[in-house]
């Protein structure tokens, strides 16, 4: 046989790969042996690297320990990895889970798998991101992202009215795919600021001259910096920047700093992560809307454990088709007419 060393090596690598994918496909937090009496609850996040989902997992684990249920967590490799979530659902069905929490990477494509699970009697709860249609799941525990955007928009409007300034707005969004979280925060901000948003489900169809432009950041610092730089080149008079999340805001701040404009420009954001709250304190971010991922996860785990005990299903918040886990404006520059908490409170309640 030719190249025996090579064949052995290839075989070992393949064997290891198969072995690890069989065992390591879920970042399982199985405590102890076998299936036991504890009901099984699943948590499927988009990724396990975004601090938001890391915190969500922690909250779920704490709630699971308290409620006496077993938690098994799964995640995709990157945002948009629908396939991994489909496989996770199938694993949970065959493992006899009572239900699971999911932050869907693809709100439409995951629905058939969710239907399959519900037909088998599992309770399915969407966290943070609704499915499309939203009633494909038994309940949704989420931040009202539109409200999150609206709060920072209202804050910015009050600030600019008070300072008597005419706003020139830069919009730093997530990406070009019109993802629901992106659209809701963007449009909520604009409505809160007083801009006619035309179609609430579309980014970029507004005609208000105060908006100098949109660019995309991928929700990270590097994208934030490049997007801010290019918009600033387009219009150096920008004085208000909306950002999809705090990492993008941090990148935008670096661009402003390099141009010497960090004092003259106001940045607003959404998230409420601890680094973001630090940035509010440091004056990098003017105001941010805080979300509560731990609350989402723990409410979700409690709901499933209750369902496992007596079959009761969770109820939506009055007037909404999801359970609103709340959003809180955090700022050190409070404006009249806009309810907010300061960064000290933010530091105690932040995540990440």
């Amino acid at each position: 046989m030719q190249h025996p060393k090579r064949v052995i090596a290839l075989g070992t690598v393949l064997g290891l790969a198969l072995f690890s994918s069989a065992c390591g496909g879920d970042s399982g937090t199985d405590s102890g042996s076998g299936s036991g009496d504890k009901p099984l609850v699943g948590l499927i996040t988009k990724t396990d690297t975004n601090p938001f989902f890391v915190k969500m997992k922690e909250g779920a684990q704490q709630a699971a320990d308290q409620a006496g249920v077993k938690l098994q967590s799964f995640a995709g490799k990157q945002d948009g990895d629908n396939e991994a979530q489909v496989q996770a659902i199938e694993s949970l069905i065959s493992a006899g889970a009572k239900g699971f929490l999911i932050t869907p990477s693809d709100s439409k494509a995951i629905v058939p798998s969710i239907d399959k699970a519900r037909q088998q009697g599992l309770l399915v709860i969407a966290l943070d991101t609704p499915t499309d249609p939203a009633n494909a799941v038994d309940a949704t525990f989420a931040t009202d992202n539109y409200q999150a955007g609206k709060l920072i928009g209202q804050w910015a409007k009050a600030k600019f009215d008070k300072d008597g300034k005419q706003a020139k707005i830069a919009m730093l969004d997530l990406n070009a795919n019109q993802v629901s979280v992106d659209v809701q925060r963007d449009q909520g901000f604009l409505e809160g600021f007083g801009v006619d948003v035309k179609d609430k489900t579309k980014i970029g169809d507004e005609a208000d001259p105060r908006i100098t432009g949109h660019d995309v950041t991928d929700g990270a610092e590097d994208g934030g910096r490049t997007a801010m730089e290019n918009l600033l080149q387009k219009d150096p008079a920008i004085n208000l920047v909306y950002t999809i999340n705090e990492p993008a805001a941090a990148g935008a701040y670096q661009a402003l700093k390099a141009a010497g404009k960090e004092k003259a420009v106001t940045i607003v954001s959404v998230d409420g992560g601890c680094p973001g709250v630090d940035n509010v304190k440091a004056g990098v971010i003017g105001a941010t809307s805080m979300q509560f991922p731990l609350k989402m996860a723990s409410l979700g785990v409690e709901a499933i454990s209750k369902f496992a005990k007596d079959g009761t299903k969770p109820q939506a918040t009055a007037g909404k088709d999801f359970v609103d886990t709340g959003v809180q404006l955090i700022t050190d520059q409070p404006q009249t007419g806009v309810d907010a908490k300061d960064s000290a409170w933010g530091k105690e309640n932040c995540w990440g």
């Binding site: 190249h3 090579r6 090596a9 290839l10 690598v13 790969a17 396990d48 690297t49 975004n50 601090p51 890391v54 990157q78 070009a176 970029g204 432009g213 949109h214 660019d215 995309v216 991928d218 929700g219 990270a220 610092e221 590097d222 994208g223 910096r225 490049t226 730089e229 290019n230 918009l231 080149q233 387009k234 990492p247 941090a250 990148g251 670096q254 700093k257 390099a258 680094p275 990440g352």
Partner: protein, 353 residues
């Protein structure tokens, strides 16, 4: 005598951007297309350079702000990190390989050097050196797997991509490390200095020096010739006495060092080390190499083309935004350019020497 396709041609001066050897075939005037084909075959960077120049002209017309020293300096700063990553990728692609772990090595190196400098309290210079060593070691792992275990580069780097990415998550705990917590040396690459009317960052200067150094290395050293030979036809190179395993190993290892250098420049640009950045670095680095005229089949192209390729992407992003074009078309434009570049490469390869 059978005409040889360029794939089996032994390494020739034109590989490093020299003049094409003329064939004295006097069977009538060459068609324009053939002349262009020969010209592009001899000068792989001519096509990309033309695209860059046309793009700059077009965007200057669309918005006066485009063609100004501040804006052009900005574009250079924006493409610097990708250019350095793409430099490493070029070396690998010249050997007919590919590196999918480029982003993972870069981001993990940035997290490592930042962690050494902050949580482990090491002095800046030591943290930087350890970070660079880590990147080099990761590249060496790729090189080892390609040369000793003899696995295809695509598969090797696909595997190491996942490994480094996971280690990155574990070490960083998904937390961003702030530049203000790091010694100045870590963020030094982001400092700008005025040169003429331009504002260059030290990172961009390092990038340009690296490109100059590797341009020299690839065109005028034995190592450079061996890299091209190995990529052009590894068997012929080996039979000609070139130690192809060593060449391949060196290429992956050097690339790892370059990725770690890119990581250092990234920290300067962002004033932080974040485990979540660089989602697109793999594709972006390959795009810059391909747009620059380097052939994915190895043996033709060079680093100058890669710099032009990286600049093309940056110019398009910046120019389209200034021209008021919606963001969704930026991706479309780049995708179209890549297809044109690869098709052009295929056409050029048909030159009969």
């Amino acid at each position: 005598m059978a005409t040889q396709s360029s794939q089996a041609t032994p390494p020739s001066p034109e590989a490093a951007g020299g003049r094409p050897e003329h064939d004295f075939d006097t069977s009538g005037p060459e068609s324009f297309g053939l002349r262009v084909q020969h010209l592009l075959h001899g000068n792989p960077t001519l096509g990309p350079l033309a695209v860059l120049i046309v793009a700059i002209l077009a965007f200057s017309l669309a918005n006066q702000r485009f063609f100004s020293a501040p804006n052009l300096s900005l574009v250079l700063a924006q493409v610097t990190v990708i250019a350095v990553l793409a430099l490493g990728q070029t070396l690998i692609i010249l050997t007919a390989g590919i590196d999918l772990s480029v982003g993972a090595i870069a981001v993990f190196s940035s997290i490592l050097m930042a962690t050494f400098a902050t949580k482990m309290g090491l002095p800046g210079i030591l943290a930087l050196l350890l970070g660079l060593t880590a990147g080099t070691a990761m590249g060496a792992l790729n090189g080892f797997l390609v040369t000793r275990i003899k696995l295809p580069p695509f598969i090797v780097t696909l595997g190491t991509l996942s490994i480094f990415f996971s280690l990155n998550s574990v070490v960083s705990k998904s937390e961003t490390i702030r530049g203000s917590d790091m010694p100045n040396l870590m963020t030094w690459t982001g400092t700008t200095i005025p040169i003429g009317g331009f504002r260059l960052t030290y990172g961009s200067i390092i990038m340009l020096l690296l490109f100059a150094a590797f341009y020299y290395a690839l065109s005028s050293t034995a190592w450079g010739k061996h890299v091209y030979a190995t990529g052009d036809d590894i068997e012929s190179a080996r039979l000609a006495g070139i130690r192809t395993n060593r060449v391949l190993f060196s290429v992956y290892t050097v690339a790892g060092l370059l990725y770690a250098t890119g990581a250092w420049i990234l920290i300067g640009r962002l004033a932080s080390a974040s485990p979540n950045v660089g989602v697109d670095y793999n594709l972006d680095s390959i795009t810059a190499v391909v747009l620059g005229g380097t052939s994915l089949f190895g043996g033709r192209g060079g680093v100058l083309g890669t710099l032009i390729g990286a600049l093309i992407v940056g110019v398009f992003r910046n120019g389209l935004q200034l021209a008021g074009v919606e963001v969704v078309w930026q991706g479309f434009a780049i995708g179209l350019l890549v297809l044109i570049a690869v098709s052009l490469d295929q056409w050029i390869r048909k030159v009969k020497t």
